[in-house]
Amino acid sequence: MKQFNSGPSINTYNKLIHWFDFSNHGILKVYSGKVDIGQHISSTLALITSNITEIKYDQIEIIKLSTDISPDEGITASSLSVANSGSAIKAASIALKINFLNYALENLEIKNEDILFENGVIKDKNSNKTISYWDFAKTDKFKDLIIPEIFDENYLKKINYQNNQKIELKTINEIVTGKYKYVHDINFPNMLHARIVRPPSYHCKLIKINEDFKKRLFENEITLFVKGSFVAILSLDEFLVVKFLEIARNNIFWEENHQLSNDNVFNSLEKHEKETLLVKSGGEAFYEEIPKKKSFDDPKIKSLSKIFKKSYLMHGPIGPSASCAIYDDNEFTIFSHSQSIFALKYSISKYFEIDPDFVTLKFMPGSGCYGHNGADDVAFEASVIAKSYPGRHILLKWTRADEHSWEPYGSASLNKVFGAINDYGEIVYWSNEAYSDTYLSRPSDIELNNFTSYKFLTNNFAKTKSKPKTSAHMGIHRNLDPIYKFKETRLVKNLVHDLPLRTSALRTLGAFANVTASESFLNDLAQIKNIDPFVIRINHLDDERAIDVLKNLKKKMEFFKSKEDSFRGIAFSRYKNSAAYCAVGVELNVTEDLQIKLNHAWITVDAGEIAYEDGIKAQVEGGFIQAASWTLYEEVIFDSKEIISKDWDSYKIIGFDNIPVFTTSVIDQKGSPYLGVGEAVAGPTGAAISNALCKALGQRIKILPFTKENITKELLN
């Protein structure tokens, strides 16, 4: 390890007291700005702390994020939890340990060799005198200590940590016994349960509420909350609210301002008004003239052109979004499972025009989060209701239909790919044009209208145009820039306007579509010259770590014989060209009925230094399963009036009956930065399945998902 960079969080929170609390003897409380959204970040952070400080894992408690006490480390997204918070806590742990050792040596007046170090306590072998981290934490030295932004070699030499890896997840005991508390389980005295009465679709103005219905609500002690076109009902009895929600639908009337367009979305992606930007090597997008696509007359160069399509996808957490809010003494306290806890605080304070100091957001677990889902919306909505009932906790839950119909989806997209390969198997030209709606419409204090209920509260249904993001690999153009060394590339990002559905960040943003298209097309180009898929990739890579990942995958796959009538495919990418390297192999069968059965999945990942190996495996296998589900089954269906995919029958996802055997390998790069691993596997998964399917059918299927209907359509074409 030559040097270690503490990462961006240390720039703002550079003292040990920002990260550590030793006020309870024998317990180390650790603050983090990242939240547990299913990835068990708390356990990984505790393990990092434990490995370096040599305080036992069981003695370490990660404090749930609360905006009044925790560091603001931004959104828990983009595979940056371990890269940012992990690096910061590792830096704080190194600084803590070195300074504690010095303090102990000075105060005990002993030599290094006389030290016994156990559970955070140093003991002098000879005198039995002890000194602990908890003693050190009482000193001014601890309180004033500044964590270096960079640790050089001399510093790091003093730290010889072992990466102990076997742990019990911090939450697992509570999860298996039903004691783990989610927002949904909050129960305060006198708390009101709330549900929102939703209109049929996005652009509906409230016209009328039947008087008889209002009377029935009153008789049953149910409160009706109306603000603009935002309608909710509240009661002490949760089931009563659920019961009346059904009745409300027939007693509340709406005017539809305009309908959803149900033209084929892929036609709309091509035809609608759009903003077109040039993406350059390095992954940034620029408002520059787009060079004309080249053509090739040379008979020694073969070219190919294909269009890949992906439908709208939903996050679809198993538990619908929920939040609990109270407005008391002019202050808000809001419990939320959002991944954007701090941004939510500032958005809510902006909406109510109150000082952010009077808005506290407390993270509390929800169902799994895979991007910008309904969590922010429901927290905002709960706060809107709570403001009208000071001193009362409001627990607002979305219904299953709310979650399926109102969340911001992952956009439908289209990739037009063109490439050329010469007689030597070199790819001499690569063009990829991505078309999509935005992947980034998170609400913020300057974009309150990104809350789905904002337009209903204000009765302002005017459409707003999203602006293209230009920074490297941000949004539509994430992983559009291939990691391979092609001779010439032409990369184009098209942000398409006026598409029918609400969209925002879904795990990997544009990378899933871009990598699935690119890595499928790369195989098609290789096929022209009959080049092996591993060879075409390795020949166009100059990054040794990328090559090692592919070689490892090849070795692992060769170890297993193919099953009868099965077909294999591989794919590779480095997420954002800067995070984890990931290669995926898939073996599958296709039934006579065109159902795809996954037999075996091989994943090789290099995520830098291993913070927690089983955690990395869980993330990549989980990511594979989710991406396989997107690839094989998922598609949001809608018509001109409403979303049709309102439940799990109308939006199919993968079940336990199509889970492959996994062979997952994690390459350790001890001493290297943590790279973050939550999203690396998705793109290669889509492409590896596509490549195996292409072998099985002898034809490339270019439209996701690979349902019987889509496959049949493509085969007939």
Binding site: V176, T177, W648
Partner: protein
């Protein structure tokens, strides 16, 4: 709309509650008994997160009327412990860290417990049948299957 008296026995404890006669069992478990380990995911019997054991059989509690469960033995995830120890399924899930967000986990543990209570050596197909209708969105399936496989071995 009037309420009726209903006596339910959950995890060995009987309690009389006043409820609407169309109240699904899941709301009685969570709100009247305060046992929030049973989760509501869809209310449509499509996701499996509300599974409980009733008279030895796995049942989904989101559409099942509470009043139809009188005089029956209802077991939720909180009632699976045996003599204060985790049951063998819970223990396997703990040993394998077999959960991501955990929202679907209690329903799966219930299903697998009901299966192994009847059949100590279920076939792979029987395990698949038990898991049919249980959805997980985080992708904990592979670790969950490994945990269940370990039960067969033991």
């Amino acid at each position: 709309m009037s309420k009726v008296e209903c006596e339910l026995k959950i995890n060995g404890l009987s309690k009389k509650i006043n409820i609407y006669n169309d109240k699904p069992l899941v709301y009685a478990i969570r709100n009247d008994f305060g046992l929030t380990g049973t989760k509501l995911g869809c209310g449509l019997e499509q996701c499996g997160s509300c599974a409980v054991i009733i008279d030895g059989e796995k049942k989904l509690s989101c559409n099942l009327l509470a009043i139809e469960c009188e005089k029956k033995e209802i077991i939720t995830v909180e009632g699976l412990k045996i003599d204060s120890e985790l049951n063998h399924v819970q223990e396997a899930f703990r040993n394998f860290n077999a959960a991501q967000c955990g929202y679907c986990t209690s329903g799966i543990i219930i299903s697998i417990t009901a299966l192994f209570d009847k059949n100590k050596k279920p076939s792979s197909q029987e395990i698949q049948n038990a898991l049919d209708g249980h959805l997980c969105r985080c992708g904990s399936h592979s670790v969950v299957l490994n945990a269940i496989e370990s039960l067969k071995e033991n």
